[in-house]
Assembly symmetry: C2
Homo-oligomer: 262 residues x 2
Amino acid sequence: MQHYLGYIFDLDGTVYLGEELIDGALETIQYLQSENKKLLFLTNKTIDSRENYVDKLAKLGIRVGLENLLNPALVTIHYLQEHHPGAKVYIIGEEILRQELVSNGIQLANSPEETDVVVVSWDRDFHYEHLDFAYQSIKRGAAVIATHPDRTCPMPGGDIPDVAGMIGAIEGITGQKISIIMGKPSILTATTALNILQLNADQCLMVGDRLETDIRMGRDAGMSTGLVLTGITGQDDVDTTAYKPSYIMHSIYDILKASNTD
Amino acid sequence: MQHYLGYIFDLDGTVYLGEELIDGALETIQYLQSENKKLLFLTNKTIDSRENYVDKLAKLGIRVGLENLLNPALVTIHYLQEHHPGAKVYIIGEEILRQELVSNGIQLANSPEETDVVVVSWDRDFHYEHLDFAYQSIKRGAAVIATHPDRTCPMPGGDIPDVAGMIGAIEGITGQKISIIMGKPSILTATTALNILQLNADQCLMVGDRLETDIRMGRDAGMSTGLVLTGITGQDDVDTTAYKPSYIMHSIYDILKASNTD
């Protein structure tokens, strides 16, 4: 396995499974930190803050800073700052997302008339009133973007509807697809990641357990990619996918093991 | 213009505009009643009961019975009775729809586990909890149908999101299109109409102001069709449509005027 300057890791299924670390994940990350590699951890979840992920990793023994975490909220903030500076934004999403955007200087709209951009995210309190506000805004010319594309989210009691329900509701009313969607596998997440790491794509390895999101995004961006088999994907899935990874690893631990055999 | 045994009328834009009768509508309908024609009035709205429409028409001077009104609720009841007899149903929709279904013997489901059919309709109190209940039901094998396909509904203050928002939310989560949709222009509405009238399609004239719903449905069912120009459609629209009507009328009044010149 080649050496890289930057390592980008998916979290659930790659670094941990639920509340348990993957065997060797801690040692691997500590090794990469000791080698002064640049690390970034990615999630598509918008109902936890980046601070929560730093805390969760710390509890598992992995000490990283806020700057090592990238979530759809941060991609959205970067996107709005670049493409809609000063815009007034209407957010369909939970309080934690709203706080993350507002604390980064994003201004909230108070009416459809003053809304420049509708940000569609996951909201477990989504209501018809949100749909109507979004529709009235879009009808008056507001742009519309979504934070991530996930259909459902796995939860301890079984999977539940994710942001795709909110996206579908709006697309159903407008008859228009929402074409700008952050989060994996969007290239917008990859470019934000490279921007944060200050690296080029060919200097990075993207590691994750999902072909359609982690590996696809890494490939699309021109990164090397490593599929781990500790999550949702099995060896058989690799044979039939259009998103072939550069490396197939039993787990993240293979990165450390490969370095020892150099 | 040919004489027909049955006349099927759209309401808003055809018989009345908002709260005002179209000129000549009353005389035309009274004439058809005096000739013992079979009449049926169609609406795609699910937030008013058929009784409300009978009352509204009565206030405008048009005296018809409940049996002359067909709405998506009634089409849905017919469909459930034929295709899912005894089914337990989860309804996304407003109280007036729920009452109409229950009073016609449809049984309500209390949990996703016991849900046989999810009925998706327009609900101005639609909430994430409804989406989750529907998703958990569909995941466990429930069928899913929708009462009508409308994107938006015109209201005095401007149009607002209709059932397409609820349909889109569910399609977004399941990744599957809902293929069984009642209401105009569904053939299911046309066959229910013919069933109620006890007539064949070629004995009926379908009259409405919308090419994509009224005229399309009439054509698909094999009825003669009459487009009125008192609603949303202008003469220019007819030149470019795939849904050419059999007749183009200035208004519903042309039916009476044509009969006088025979």
